[in-house]
Symmetry: C2
């Protein structure tokens, strides 16, 4: 981040590198023409190595939540039994989507700040009974708590226990920034979003399906039209999308992928590890307690408890006056925590700057509410 | 359009004026912060006069088709009876969306190239019986044929005949470029899209509901989550959207609206009339037969039959080599017509340039297929 601009440290949208920003200013093209077909092909094939898949990647003109809805309604039927493993607000949202469309959802709820234990998930599936499950919904990186689930281990546990269940993963806030091996891990549906690791503006969702998930789309009876994945796949074979796509966001995705490829996968992953370590170390040093169990701390977002007696709005305003924007808590954590995003276009220096500002505000006591006293 | 760039004459996405393009390159902001709240408020209140409504305008991060789906699933329940008045491919799509979600849809089909006759719609509703109808789906401007329906007259006919039916209008490809009086005409749901008259990139849909349509959302049982309008309206009251919105497209919408306001509504409408007249006159002069009945010719898109024996791909390639991109036919008109878009950022000169190129290619005979002979 340049010194002269806001240090936007929320877990998406992430700041945009200059090349990505500028791509957003390109003139429109015919979305039924040859330039568009080439653009679509570059993005979908460019995303594959980061997803760890050789399967098609479908681009939807929708936020990540639309991608999650697509993952559900294209693969399930009303009445289908699904286990929603939820470790935070986004896991809860995923469960709500499935329930909204008539799935019979059992929520496996984990205390916020912890990751899901594969053995405990196995137990929950056994109670099912195991062959009744049609899907298990997992959150790869829970943005509301800064906790990363071990998808490889969870997927293995699910396949071993409930072989007919599709493993459907919300990978929105980390895929691209951390290693992911969709095919190798047996993940059936993976969803990501343009405004996260891909360093582009929000507005597009990326979805990939395993062969058996594509088969499931042929039987799935939940209604869908705008988010119909099979229709998107069929049109992509002709270099098109069924509806007018978010062309400008695609320009930015293309530019972001080019930068990611230039940096190299290992370097991107290492940079995110370094940023996450800087966030955790800096917040701890500033005297803030971290929310996540540290063995499963996210590499893309770190949450910390606000000091006792903090007025969250005053805290946020004091940070803002220092050029730093962080995220607050969601759901039951609203007003109680702060969250630093460190994914996409981010350096260790950006994180250190943000953490230094947090330490300063925290020590100054300027954001302590009167009610809490001194 | 500048001389040095492609004359993109498809009915959306339309070319972007420089100010709009450049707005797409702005840095990201926190979509839960004060700058975003101000941006959202500017757009929604800016759109109201063009919709002709004093009601809330909801922004969805989705293409126009997503907006149409939102119009259906938020106001209807499975089994509800709907009359889909379809005069082309987009009317057919609207009917399909309603049927996909379980509405009992009767299609009132009008020959492609003609507009819907209010008296004939009245007859169809009477056969219903009239009080069985829950909704009538209308296309304001049928992009596939270049025909504009008389929404004021159709809405009046519907309210008089089937008073319980919501009047749901696909206004995607003309609202903003032609006068529209949603409140005065009794339109219950109106949908538009960012990439049309608003001169922005695709990716956002604009939806407004009458008071009785908002009431209908409380009873409507079709499932929705990503496209839940009530949730969007509730969050908009806090200056937010429920899911991460297409921030860059919103920057562009804001910039486009500013340009439209600066030009003035009457001037914008007059410019579109002049462009449409130039398109029709030029194509007729070039010897091409127009598709639409001229009493209901669209002001934003003009369709013409390709000369007998034309190879549509060769025709399109020949135009492209002259710097002009037009659209082809959809559905049953594929390969048989061409369509010129003249909405959003367009001048009479742009249209004349495009029409001159069409005349040249047409007269040269270079795009006549061998099979058709000479």
């Amino acid at each position: 981040v340049n010194q002269d601009q806001t240090n936007l440290r929320i877990p998406g949208p992430t700041p945009l590198p200059d090349e990505v920003r500028e791509a957003g200013a390109r003139q429109m093209i015919n979305h039924r023409g040859p330039e568009f077909a080439a653009l679509l092909e570059r993005i979908t094939s460019g995303v594959q190595p980061w997803f760890g898949t050789s399967r098609d990647v479908v681009l939807l003109s929708a936020a990540g939540t639309g991608g999650l809805e697509a993952a559900i309604v294209n693969t399930l039927s009303p009445g289908d039994r699904a286990l929603a493993v939820t470790i935070g607000a986004f896991g809860d949202r995923f469960a709500s989507i499935a329930a909204t469309y008539g799935a019979r959802v059992d929520r496996f709820e984990v205390e916020w700040g912890l990751a899901a234990d594969p053995d405990a998930v196995r137990e929950a599936l056994r109670a099912g009974p195991p062959d009744a499950w049609r899907a298990v919904l997992l959150t790869h990186n829970e943005t509301s708590t800064g906790v990363a689930n071990d998808i490889a281990a969870l997927s293995r546990a699910i396949h071993e226990t409930a072989p007919d269940a599709l493993v459907i993963v919300d990978g929105i806030s980390a895929v691209g920034a951390v290693p992911f091996s969709m095919d190798e891990w047996g993940v059936d549906v993976l969803v990501s979003g343009s405004q996260k690791a891909w360093m582009a503006a929000p507005g597009m969702s990326l979805v990939s399906l395993s062969d058996r998930a594509w088969l499931a789309t042929e039987r799935a009876l939940m209604p869908r039209f705008y988010l119909d994945l099979a229709r998107h796949r069929a049109d992509a074979a002709e270099g098109q999308t069924p509806w007018t796509p978010s062309v400008a966001v695609m320009y930015q995705l293309d530019a972001g992928l080019t930068l990611m490829e230039r940096e190299g996968r290992e370097a991107v992953f290492a940079r995110h590890i370094a940023c996450a370590e800087a966030a955790r170390a800096g917040l701890a040093e500033a005297g803030l307690d971290l929310l996540a169990e540290q063995t499963h701390a996210s590499r893309t977002v770190t949450a910390a408890w606000l000091p006792a007696g903090t007025d969250p709005k005053a805290f946020s305003a004091a940070l803002r006056s220092r050029g730093v924007v962080v995220a607050g808590g969601q759901g039951k954590l609203k007003g109680r925590i702060l969250r630093i995003g460190h994914l996409g276009w981010v350096t260790v220096e950006d994180v250190e700057m943000a953490v230094a500002a947090i330490a300063e505000v925290s020590r100054s006591g300027s954001a302590t509410s009167v009610a809490a006293g001194a």
